[in-house]
Every structure is written in C-alpha cells, then in structure tokens.
Amino acid sequence: MPWMDVMADMALAPWLVILPLAGALLAGLWPAAARWWGLLTALLTLVMALLLALQVHAHGPMILDLGGWAPPLGITLVADGLASLMLLMTAVVGLAISLHALGYLAGEGRGHWFWILWLWLWAAMNALYLSGDVFNLYVTLELVVLASVALVALAGGAAPLVAAMRYLLVSLLGSMAYLMGVALLYGAYGVLGLQALGAQVALSAAPMLAAVLMTVGLLAKSALFPLHVWLPPAHGSAPAPVSAALSALVVKVSFYLILRLWLTVFPALPLSGLDVLMGVLAAGAVLWGGLMALRAPRLKQVVAYSTVAQVGYLFLLFPFLRAHPEGWKAVVFFAVAHGVAKAAVFLAAGTLQRAAGHDRLADLGAVMRGRLKTSFALGIAGAGLVGLPFTGGFIAKWLLVQTALEAGLWIWALVVLGGGLLAGAYVFRLLGPAFEPGPADRGRPLPAVMEWVPLALALLTIGLGFAGTPALSLLARTLAGGGG
C-alpha cells in the first residue's frame, strides 16, 4: 500500500505521549469542558495507536532519539511489537472507559477531576510503554502511581481514602526499590538505556541485586500474591471506570515493565530458583484470589479478587522465560485478553451498581434480569475470564497451556487449568442471581451508553479469539536485548 510507505518515515511514537498529555493539560485548564477534551483525546489516541501498530508490523521496531541526542547522552523512545500492542490495548480499553464514564459520571459535581486524572494516567502509561531508558521509566512510573492513587481516592469517604493511602505507600515502596536498582545499574555500567544496559549486564553482584530490587518493587505494584492485600479494597471501592482502568491497565503496566527489563536488560542473569519461586507465588495467587472471589459478598469485590487471581497467570512469565524462548508472548496475549475482558466486567458491574443503587450480589437478581444487555455483557466477558472457547481468554489459556507443555512444565499447565475451574465457579456465582426466578426491574434510569459500552467490549473479547495470529506476529517485532 503506498500510504504505508509515506507513513514509514513518520515518527508516530511521540504523538502517543503528546496527545494524552495535551489533553490532560487542556482538561486541567478548562475543567468545564474536561469530558470533551477526554473524548477527543481518546479518539485521536486510538487512531494513533492503530497507525503505530500497523507501522511497527510493516517495518519492524523503531528507536527514536529524543532531541536528536543519541544514547548514551539522550533518552530513546522504543516503539516495537510489545510496546505497540500494549498501547493499542490501552487505547481500546481507554476509549471504552471514557465512553462509559460519560454516562457514569453524568450529573456528578466532581466528575471533571476524573477526566483530568484519567488523562494524566493515560499519558503516563503511554510514556511508560514507549520509554527506552531505566531512569525515564522511573519518572513515568511515578506519574502512573500519583494519578492512580488520586483516582482511587476520588470515590470519597473513609474506605476509599484508606485504600488509596495503602496503595500509595505500597507503590512508593515499590518505586524506591526500583530507583535503587536504577542507581545500582548506573553505578555499575554508567549508562541508562535499556539496550545499552542489556549489552553490558553480565553475571555479578550489582546487576543481580538491581534485578531483585526492581522485580520485587514492581511485583508489589502488580499485586502478586502475597503482596496483593492493597488491591481488592482499592479496586473494589473506586468508581467503576476507575476500577476498570486500574484492573485492566495499571496492573499490566508494572507487569509490562518487569517483562521489558527481563527481556532487554537482564537476559544474561540466571533465573534458576527465581522461576520456581515465581511459579509458586503465581499458583498461590490463582488459588487464593479464586477462593476469595468465591466468598466475597459484593459484585465489585468478586471482580477485584478475580484480578488477584489473574495476576498470577502473568507471573508464569518467569518459569516460561527460563524454559521456552517464545513463552512470554503467550503471557502477553493473556495480559491483553484479560485487560479487555476485565474492563468489560468492571464496566458492566458499574452499570448494574448504578441501576440497583448497590452491588450486593444477593440482591442484584431483579436488576440483572431487567438489564439483559448488561448481564449478557457480564456473561460473555466472564466467559473470557474463565477462558471458554470462542473468546480471547480461551486462546490465551490455550497458548499458556501449550507453552507449558512444550517446555515440559506440566505442573504450570495444571495451575492454568485449575485456575480456569475456579474462575468458572466465581463467574457462575456472578451470573447466578440473573437466573433465579423472580421479577425483572430496570432499576434507576441510565444513559444508554452505559449498557452499550460493556457489551461492545464483551463482544471484542470474542473478536480477540480470532486475533491470536496477528497479535503474535506483532509481538515477533519486539526488540530483545542481551548483546544486541
């Protein structure tokens, strides 16, 4: 296609940072129009993310020296398969969250704060995906933390404030650990670029300590069991669009950073021991999160515990990294499928909660029977979380099990399958009230967009069931490090 050739030379990556940042600044200046800035930003960012994914797919990874200063002096932006897939997932989920928030926040006096903080969060996540520099990554990480903590506190009241404070403290501890790792790496090698570090890191004490500090710090931010205790209250008590953003996107951000570090900076370090430890924690997360989801009395709490469980799968990354060269791609596809499905579930939950005025599972039956579109969305997206056939979750779990079996790690395959059973149980528990006989009630009147957006996202999880091949071929255009 001729237009692809013209596009090949264009630097698209910076625009994925500029657009949301400009949107965030403008929304902050004109809070009265914040939602329109938000919507415009969401649309433009999605277009740009699509173009970037196409460009990377056609021409391979691109490295951009900021200000024309080549590393080691300057900072680079790296737009490769992994980054552009995460950007695209964030843009799709982000647009859905923005549209849903139009309805969810309608009539709320403090609604503009959501838009301002949400656009900042979006800009920070995009900047993080694209950054190719360990210190710059730290700055973007701080932005992500500040914006998400403020978003958690936005619900107001004691419980969200306590949750936000706990989240802030855990995140700061994680950031400090990460920063110590950055300092150690700079002290040992005198460079900050991911690629440059990857070319130099060899087995010795300083990079080992840096790797442990950075990984553990980021694990706390991703809420891997047993560092998960802050997540359910924070994700469960936030406004629904915020819960969706946190569970679908923010948790993936620190996972992405761990993956990026181990792919480019630390591939020379041995994983022995770490892979088993991570696998055990992952299994613990799947089990504990699943069991807690079976017991939680409120709809959004169930979904939040489901995130604890599903974060477990993400950290099967470590056993896979050691045993299977392509294994991480299965985990990334799982992260994408989970992001879309979890956002759909949280948004649907938000719609039901607004319609019923509460989210106690036991009393939701009438509204679930009255709001069939939303219940249907909850069902399909729930099937995606379980990994039932014809959903993205199915392909994702298929890839995970296949990878585990190819690498001879059948025990992790059992974890995936067992986790699927638990997920099945709690998703049926979510849907159960809808199937009880009784009257149907549409509850409070709601804008139509709050019903259509979860449904569209849920249908997208089915679309993702057919996206395995293009996603994997995009991921094949990822910059790996180590001597590169």
């Binding site: 902050g28 200000g67 932005l143 500040l146 914006a147 403020a150 005198g190």
Partner: protein, 224 residues
C-alpha cells in the same frame, strides 16, 4: 500493638539486610566515569554553558518535562481530594515583621530570578529559582494577618501548567521542525531553554505554595 511487636523487628531485619547488601555491592563497584565525557563533547551544541543545565534541559529534557508534570499532578491530585482549611486569623503583628518582609520579599524575588537566569552558565536553574520564589510565597502566606486574596481559579491553573505547557509546546515544535521530539534548533537553544526555565520556575514556585496550602481554595471551580 501486638502486630507492631512482631512486624517491627521483621522490618528492622529486612532493612538491615538490604542496607548490608547495598554496602557490600556498592563498595565493590568498579570506578565508573559515567557520562561526563559524552556530555563534555556535546556541550558546544547544547546552547548553554553549564553541564547540569545542558543535561536537564537539553540532553534529558524529556525527563525534566515529566518531572514538572509530576509536580503539577501532585497539586491536581491534592485538589481532587477536596477544599483546604482556611488559615486561621492571627493577631496583627508589630512593625518588625512587616518591615522585614518588605525587605525580604523583593530580595527573594530578585534572587529567584537571578538563579533561573544564571542556570545557563553556572549552578542554578528553574528548580532552584522556583524554590526560592516558592519560599517567599509561603513566607508571605504565613505572616499576613488574614488570608491572602488568591488569584482567580483560571489564573491559578494557568500558572500551575505554564511550565509544562511551554515545555510540551517547544518539544512538539521540535518534532514538527525536524529536530526530534524535545529537540531545539541549535541556534535557538539558549533562548528556548531560558524561556522554558522562566515558565517552569513560575509553575514550580506556585506548585510549592499551593502544596503548602493543601487542598484547593474555594475559588477553584467546584462544579462542572
């Protein structure tokens, strides 16, 4: 308290282990020249004469831009939490305080402005200048007998985002004119950097004063 009895020794043990590990590893690090040589080589194209300013505003300007964004986001986050408590009225002070203020504030403003300007050739810059200006603002707030009249909400927001806006605008212009995102045309670098530093110092000073005050004032728009 029972929980603290168990967790405190654990926290102490973990901190000591980490400190010990860090000491052992850091002492063992080979001498490392870092990036002093590449920075020195590129100084003539940076537009400024002081290496720290060259790194902060030019070579790694993107980091500094995002740091400005962190400061601004901190204020926005605090504003999103709610209104601030009004400063309680204090007794009218004697002539000494007022006389001192009348001398100190102009000195602080001149010092802050000088620090921003001198940053291009010597130690100084937007953060240092902004800190001095911010301190002057906090001093003024504390010593007035009553609440200082705050500027309108729009002016507060404009001042707060001035630095980030200027930086983003210049950075985007660099992208559009072929100098790369966050890049300057070398001939213009000095003027652009000085302009960004001035704008940033205003925002930083205002950020510090607003952080000191806590939540948003009643004049920052509450409704949609």
């Amino acid at each position: 308290m029972i929980r603290r009895r168990f967790t405190s020794p654990l926290v102490l043990l973990m901190s000591l282990t980490l400190a010990g590990l860090l000491i052992v590893v850091v002492l063992d690090l080979p001498p490392q020249p870092g990036l002093a040589a590449p920075v020195a080589d590129a100084m003539d194209r940076s537009g400024v004469r002081h290496p720290v300013t060259a790194v902060l505003l030019n070579f790694r300007g993107y980091d500094t831009f995002l740091e400005l964004a962190v400061l601004m986001l901190a204020v926005l986050s605090i504003w999103s939490l709610g209104l601030r408590d009004p400063i309680p009225a204090r007794p009218v002070q004697g002539p000494v305080l007022h006389g001192t203020l009348r001398h100190l504030i102009p000195v602080a403003v001149v010092t802050g402005g000088y620090l921003v300007w001198v940053g291009s050739s010597d130690s100084g810059g937007a953060f240092q200048g902004g800190a001095v200006l911010g301190a002057a603002g906090v001093m003024l707030m504390l010593s007035l007998p009553r609440e200082m009249p705050m500027p309108s909400a729009l002016v507060q927001r404009l001042g707060l985002s001035l630095g980030a806006f200027a930086f983003l605008a210049v950075g985007t212009a660099g992208l559009l004119t072929g100098h790369g995102f966050m890049g300057y045309p070398p001939a213009w670098a000095y003027h652009l950097i000085l302009g960004i530093e001035l704008a940033a110092s205003v925002s930083i000073a205002l950020t510090l004063v607003l952080l000191f005050l806590g939540g948003r004032s009643r004049r920052v728009r509450h409704g949609r």
